[in-house]
């Protein structure tokens, strides 16, 4: 019974939500909006539970004096400060907004900017020409990178005029080659992946609606 009711509800709501996608009737729209709103209501309750687990995790860290346990006080300081200002005075409060803009946003930006360095290190490993595929990747990447910056076309055009080949070979080669690579092989591969993903999503959804895939309920039986 513990499993049968969620499975029956899943089947019922799965079928109803599919039907709503093919019916523009106001009743269908209303059902869709009500179900979505219902799902949104669960969020805040779950957030309370999640916050409790966060607090428990950091209390345990402080009690057990695990490595870097002192940082757990920083978590509590941030949590208490934002709740103490945000709950009684609302998210429009100037102090709350100031803390958001001058603490959270810069820290987010810092993490995001690390991406540039990670891209460089990942690209270094990926582009090492140790096999035919890696060499192909390296050459393609070089063309795309040169095509993305104006200096790529400038170098190409200068070389053509120096060698006198500008009357035979077309100008702006890197940017044209970049466009061709992105619009043809790259886009084809992406669409192939998207098609596979879409079919995978439908297949997974059918398995869930029919109750064949039920591990999300806890366990596979």
């Amino acid at each position: 019974m513990k499993r049968q009711i969620p499975l029956a509800l899943c089947f019922l709501f799965g079928i109803v939500m599919i039907i709503t996608q093919f019916s523009p009737h106001p009743v269908s729209k209303s059902i869709y909006e009500r179900v979505i709103s219902g799902a949104l209501i669960i969020g805040p309750f779950a957030l309370v539970l999640a916050t409790i687990t966060l607090i428990q995790t950091h209390i345990n860290r402080i009690q057990r004096r695990t490595e870097h346990w002192g940082y757990s006080f920083v978590v509590f300081a941030g949590l208490i400060t934002m709740v103490a200002i945000g709950v009684p005075f609302g998210p429009e409060n100037p102090i709350f907004v100031w803390l958001y803009r001058n603490v959270q946003v810069p820290m987010d930006a810092t993490m995001f900017s690390l991406l540039a360095f990670f891209i460089a290190s990942a690209a270094y490993r990926a582009f090492r020409a140790r096999s035919t595929e890696a060499t192909l990747l390296l050459v393609t990447a070089l063309i795309v990178m040169l095509g993305n910056v104006p200096v790529g076309d400038l170098i190409w055009n200068s070389l053509l005029s120096l060698t006198g080949l500008d009357s035979i070979i077309s100008q702006n080669g890197p940017s044209s080659a970049r466009g061709w690579i992105l619009d043809n092989p790259n886009l084809s591969a992406r669409r192939g992946i998207i098609l596979g993903v879409s079919l995978g999503v439908i297949s997974q959804s059918i398995r869930i609606i029919l109750g064949i895939e039920r591990s999300y309920l806890g366990g596979g039986d």
Partner: protein, 391 residues
């Protein structure tokens, strides 16, 4: 007498010329072929009025739309519309959609053409029309049929697999490596870090990731390897706790389950990335699973995992993040392989059967693409037209 006759002829000709000229001018300025219909495939909240595109020489610069409710006096709707506002390039007709209507009333429309000189010419009033809500969107019939066909292929394959016939599934290295990764962590006495990405519980990729986590948890329960799951979504956290707990119970190792190992960090994208990176550096897990929906944080996580020398198995349906995972991880489940993972790991015939149905779907699409290309090359474009009309 003769002089009078000539004068009479001149008068008649002049009158005829002026009358026909006036008639011609009025005919060219007044909108023609004005038709009002209930907008197809909507919820009954609009009526569409169409009329012919004016000739370039007509001098028309805009239109006023007049409507009458239940036969009452006509009144103007909104401001004057320019030609750009009303000309529909797809159908090459002028079009106006009245969304200020009620399904309980009937409506009649007159279109007023306004010329450069400010002259106004009224069209004929349209027939009375009322709006009705449609139950089925006829523009989605091809999509509906494709969905039925694909669903039938999957369900048919599932029931075929139930009969006990073996289903061949190609080897997926990323999933073959799951046991290797868990074994490595066990031998090294270190933990396994499982990251579900930033997707919510309504995201199919997150559900697929959870099913893989269920299988991983069964193995870690056997080996007593610590499994750490930092969550980004509160609902996902609670579902994952239940899932992992049940997996440990199913393996007869409830004592090995530690609820504290599955915890919430934050909903903020980069704060979450920072938290998980910190865990990687501090705890040095031997195996890292990055499965689910990822955005810009994908490479931040994968590169940090790479720097600590952990074996990394990634999988995502976010095609923009795949190159990063391929570059930084040992194994990557590309797109649909993520959805095949639960069937592959569980080896349940019914789940494996659905993979065969998925392949039938791919074969059908591939056949349609080849047929479409051949037909387009021979100048027949009904497949393209059909697909373009799917809304």
């Amino acid at each position: 007498m003769k002089h009078n006759k000539i004068c009479l002829w001149i008068a008649v000709c002049t009158t005829l010329f002026l009358w026909t000229s006036l008639g011609y001018c009025q005919g060219s300025a007044a909108p023609t072929n004005v038709v009002a219909i209930d907008t197809p495939n909507d919820d009954g909240s609009s009526i569409t009025v169409t009329w012919d595109v004016p000739a370039e020489t007509s001098g028309i610069v805009g239109y006023n739309i007049l409507s009458s409710v239940d036969g009452a006096e006509f009144s103007k709707l909104g401001e004057q519309l320019s030609l750009d506002d009303v000309i529909d390039q797809e159908t090459n007709m002028c079009m106006y959609q009245d969304t200020s209507i009620s399904r309980l009333n009937t409506y009649t429309y007159i279109i007023q053409a306004v010329t450069e000189t400010g002259e106004i010419s009224d069209s004929q009033a349209t027939e009375s029309v009322s709006a009705k809500a449609q139950i089925f969107h006829t523009g989605k019939i091809p999509l509906f049929l494709a969905m039925l066909l694909f669903s039938a292929a999957i369900v048919g394959s599932i029931y075929h697999a139930r009969s006990g016939k073996e289903v061949f599934v190609r080897r997926i290295p990323g999933l073959e490596a799951v046991d290797e990764a868990i074994g490595r962590a066990t031998e090294m006495g270190r933990s396994i870090l499982y990251v579900l990405g930033l997707g919510s519980v309504s995201n199919v990729a997150t559900i697929a990731s959870m099913t893989i986590l269920g299988q991983v948890a069964r193995r870690t329960a056997d080996y007593e390897t610590p499994l750490r799951v930092p969550c980004n979504d509160p609902v996902v956290l609670n579902v994952v706790r239940e899932m992992v707990k049940t997996s440990y119970l199913d393996e007869g190792r409830p004592d090995a389950y530690n609820e504290d190992n599955i915890f919430f960090i934050t909903e903020s994208q980069f704060a979450y990335a920072a938290g998980v990176d910190g865990m990687m550096i501090r705890e040095q897990p031997a195996a890292i699973f990055l499965q689910g929906t990822f955005y810009a944080e994908s490479l931040i996580l994968a590169e940090t995992g790479n720097s600590i020398g952990a074996i990394q198995i990634a999988g995502t349906d976010s095609e923009a993040q795949l190159p990063f995972f391929i570059a930084a991880c040992d194994y990557t489940l590309i797109g649909e392989e993520l959805y095949a993972a639960s069937a592959y790991l569980a080896r349940e015939p019914m789940l494996l059967g659905s993979l065969r149905g998925q392949d039938w779907g791919k074969l059908f699409i591939f056949g349609l693409i080849v047929l479409g290309v051949i037909l387009e090359l021979t100048g027949i474009n009904w497949i393209t037209t059909l697909l373009q009309n799917v809304r």
